[in-house]
């Protein structure tokens, strides 16, 4: 059993020689606090918080962009935004929401939760994890710097050629290089989380016992792993065309613009599953907790998630039905698109069955989760209609498509992410969000969302084209556009309520480990958790491990609370008994991933010191090189680009030679940075 030896705080800071020449170059230690502590952290929880906070700020920016669009489109022949401004705003709205909001919010949640949910102390490669965050921040800032440096990307979030090949100025270059930078963050993050889930599960945590959020995030990471390289190539080809006049998308030289579309959507379609699967995972965690029932059909949910991920590779040309692919190609992709609705539909039925006959309560996370199920179903249904090729020929490039993807991405992903935010906020922040304000947020957002995007179905079927900055009077589109614009401000109001809620509850509270009476391992540790997550790596004996530690079943199959929760650290008689063939080792003999075990004592009293990986500034330093290279490339200042490259290589070298855990860092874990002291534990 791991015993963390307590010491008084003053005794813990290592002696630092006063004559250290350049103090800031010293490697930060586990005791480094403040801003520098955050900038050098490799703690997955801090990184998760940074991802989420940054993504939320981008959400506000993307939302502002949306309000600008809606102001322009609120009435016909409007002149609020000029056409070229509109193009920049709508491109950045889409690019921001997808790459700078939903993806990093999902990444932040996965970063924070996956290690804890599988009973680990951190991810497989903590410094690469930190690198991913800094690269994300660098990419986002780089892309937004374009607003001040000649104009933001203006070719749509999908960047179709030959337009983007030929657009003057550097707007598109910022888009291309910005996405490349972001792609690096996603790819490294994907490898990290894949290895973490495959390799760092606690004893007894078999794949089919993992929380479903872990599974859905894992599938999404695999999708990222394989999809990012495709858009990487597409972006390289486009940037070479723009910078070096290659001919990849040069129609005059014989190229076919569809090459871009194929490459983009071969990435783009798995991308939308990357956007939705984690949110589906969240819903699958939240619904059971507030129905006080296990998820209906766990195995089917896992397999349907895998099926969605797998089949998602076979449908991409449904974004290209109107491009003249020919009847054979179009029919094939139409069929595959229909088929992919099956595993998705299965999930919806399983969620409903989870709720069925449950002891339901409706706190805010539950409201958003149910909102997800309903709104995503609507979005999914319109999606199925797109799969019918003749119908899609009518719908494509109209607001009907815009309706579909906002229902699945906002009504789906964002609602799911808000559900997760309210659900896990107490765990991350050690504070509860106010229930009343939460409900106001939900209902305002629900109403505003449907007001904004519901009319898009009608407008689309009435023929209003998308991606245009204005529309003429007399088409019959005025009323619904106005309704939509009003709805968008209702959404904005709801977000203000959310911000007020977080602000009102900014003081730490005593929320306890398990305020929701939940089912998974993150609720067995304090809120917020200590740096090392678990005092002892848990031994897992079933799915919904925490639930089974708290509850047993009576003869009628009803849940009955145990007198003593099993598996509480250091409490005699609460050891979790391994059951079945998997649990062939008693807890005392279990070696935990990440623990440094000394010696070979077999009895339960040997001490283990928890080594946490040491902080490092190399991830941040390396990340800075990426925008430097990009600026150099865009402005064809090769010296700058080369300097950036040298910067990156040098930093990588220094990083590689630095050990993951610094030898000078004391092996005894001290008070974690949340200020919570360890209890004195009798040996």
């Amino acid at each position: 059993m791991a015993i963390v030896t307590p010491q008084r705080p003053e005794a813990l800071a290592p002696e630092q020689p006063l004559n250290t020449p350049v103090r800031f170059l010293r490697r930060p230690t586990g005791y480094t606090k403040g801003l520098w502590g955050w900038m050098t952290t490799v703690d997955h929880k801090k990184i998760g918080i940074m991802y989420s906070a940054t993504a939320f700020i981008f959400f506000l920016i993307g939302g502002l962009e949306a309000l600008l669009l809606r102001l322009q489109l609120g009435g016909p022949d409007n002149t609020f935004l000029r056409a070229d401004t509109y193009n920049q705003v709508f491109t950045m709205h889409g690019t921001t929401m997808i790459f700078l909001v939903i993806m990093p919010l999902s990444a932040g949640l996965a970063n924070y939760l996956l290690p804890i949910m599988i009973g680990a102390r951190d991810v497989a490669f903590p410094r690469i994890n930190a690198f991913g965050y800094w690269v994300f921040l660098a990419g986002g800032l780089f892309m937004y710097s374009s607003f001040f440096l000649g104009g933001a990307p203006n070719g749509g979030w999908f960047g179709y050629v030959p337009l983007t090949r030929n657009l003057p100025g550097h707007n598109i270059d910022y888009w291309v290089f910005g996405l490349q930078i972001l792609g690096i963050a996603s790819l490294t993050g994907a490898i990290n989380l894949i290895v973490t889930v495959i390799n760092m599960r606690a004893p007894g945590m078999s794949l089919m016992r993992m929380p479903i959020f872990v599974w859905m995030s894992l599938v999404a990471q695999f999708l990222l792993l394989f999809a990012i390289p495709v858009i990487t190539v597409a972006l390289f080809l486009l940037s070479f065309d723009r910078l070096f006049s290659t001919n990849f998308f040069n129609v005059a030289a014989g190229s076919d613009p569809l090459l871009w579309q194929h490459l983009f959507w071969m990435f783009g379609h798995p991308e939308v599953y990357i956007l939705i699967l984690p949110a589906m995972g969240i819903v699958s965690e939240v619904l059971p907790v507030f129905s006080r029932k296990p998820l209906f059909g766990y195995q089917v949910m896992v397999f349907s998630g895998i099926a969605i991920g797998f089949m998602g590779w076979g449908v991409w040309a449904h974004h290209m039905f109107a491009t003249g692919l020919g009847p054979v190609a179009v029919s094939a992709f139409s069929a595959s698109t229909m088929f992919i609705a099956v595993p998705t539909g299965v999930k919806i039925f399983n969620w409903i069955s989870t709720l069925w006959k449950g002891k339901l309560t409706f706190p805010t996370p539950m409201l958003f989760a149910i909102g997800f199920v309903t709104m995503f179903t609507i979005g999914g249904l319109s999606g199925v209609t797109h799969g019918v090729v003749p119908a899609d020929t009518q719908q494509t490039d109209t607001y009907y498509i815009v309706a579909h993807f906002h229902y699945v991405l906002f009504g789906g992903s964002m609602f799911g992410l808000f559900s997760g935010a309210y659900y896990w906020y107490p765990k991350f922040a050690g504070r509860m969000l106010d229930e009343r304000l939460g409900k106001i947020h939900f209902w305002l957002m629900f109403i505003g969302f449907n007001m904004t995007f519901g009319p898009f179905h009608i407008l689309g079927l009435q023929g209003m084209p998308r991606r245009v900055y204005t529309y003429p009077e007399g088409r019959g589109w005025d009323v619904w556009n106005l309704v939509s614009t009003i709805g968008s401000f209702v959404i904005a109001l709801s977000i203000l309520v959310f911000i007020i809620n977080m602000w009102k509850n900014r003081k730490p509270q005593e929320v306890g480990d398990d305020p929701w009476d939940a089912r998974t391992l993150e609720w067995t540790i304090p809120s917020p958790p200590p740096e090392y997550n678990f005092k002892e790596i848990p031994l897992v004996t079933s799915r919904d491990e925490l639930w089974h530690r708290k509850y047993t079943e009576d003869e009628d199959g009803r849940s009955v609370r145990r007198e003593v929760t099993l598996g509480q650290p250091h409490m005699a008689g609460t050891e979790v008994e391994p059951t079945g063939p998997e649990g062939s080792e008693s807890p005392d003999h279990v070696q935990a991933p990440g623990d440094h075990a000394d010696g070979g004592e077999e009895n339960g009293e040997h001490e283990e010191h928890i080594h946490m990986p040491s902080p490092s500034y190399w991830p941040l330093v390396t990340a800075i090189g990426l925008p430097i290279v990009s600026y150099g490339m865009i402005y064809k200042t090769w010296a700058v680009a080369i300097m950036g490259g040298v910067w990156i290589f040098g930093s990588l070298y220094a990083w590689a030679l630095e050990p993951a855990t610094a030898p000078e860092d004391t092996p005894v874990h001290g008070p974690d940075t949340s200020g919570e002291d360890l209890e004195a534990v009798p040996a």
Binding site: N247, A253, L259, Q591, H596
Partner: protein, 207 residues
């Protein structure tokens, strides 16, 4: 893996604090490298497909493969790269056996063979450019240079990694317990070789 048997000291087992036990018994680094190689398949797949799409589609009268390709020359450099995979695997065998000197010999040889490949490519490119084929001439030139350029960049990074391993070994920082580092660099190296097998056939040999 968490236990490493030091080759020289018989049955003594020591815990390597850098490698705690894992759920699969495989190291994190190796799982990571294979995942990365899986994703690289998509990268090179996209580049190769672009080349194949444009094959034969360049405007007539502009430079074509048959005008510039020197198959014997490229065969020699392909052979060189292929043999570098052999020396790579011999380097791994050497470090696993604890033969430090031979490890360095094979690592350096692999790096030199790889560098020769890159140099050969660079020379080939200069010849092509002199014959009037630069990046922007036509579809063939663009796709050829970008595909082989990406591959060459990968080889170059591999050479740098090999030289780094050589340098570490010279400084006594590459003991047999670190054999896996050599193995991982080897995996990357063989993958780059395997991509060239595909490129050489599809781009150079098939008309």
């Amino acid at each position: 893996m968490s236990t490493t048997v030091t080759a020289s000291s018989g049955s003594h087992t020591e815990i390597d604090p850098g490698h705690p036990p894992t759920s699969t018994g495989l190291t994190n680094e190796k799982v990571a490298m294979w995942s990365f190689l899986g994703s690289e398949c998509l990268l090179f797949g996209a580049l190769i497909s672009t080349y194949l799409l444009f094959k034969g589609q360049s405007l007539p009268g502009t430079i074509q493969p048959v005008d510039v390709f020197d198959i014997p020359y490229t065969s020699v450099s392909s052979f060189v790269l292929l043999m570098s995979s052999l020396t790579m695997v011999l380097a791994l065998a050497a470090i696993q056996r604890g033969d430090q000197r031979l490890t360095r010999v094979w690592l350096l040889t692999t790096a030199l063979l790889g560098a020769s490949f890159v140099a050969g490519q660079a020379y080939e490119f200069t010849v092509f450019v002199r014959e009037g084929m630069n990046l922007r001439v036509n579809l063939f030139s663009s796709s050829f240079f970008v595909l082989t350029g990406f591959h060459g960049a990968h080889v170059t990074i591999g050479v740098l990694m090999l030289l780094s391993l050589y340098s570490l070994s010279m400084r006594g920082k590459l003991p047999p317990s670190k054999a896996e580092t050599v193995e991982l660099v080897g995996l990357y190296w063989h993958f780059v070789d395997v991509v060239w097998i595909v490129i050489f056939t599809l781009i150079y040999l098939i008309p």
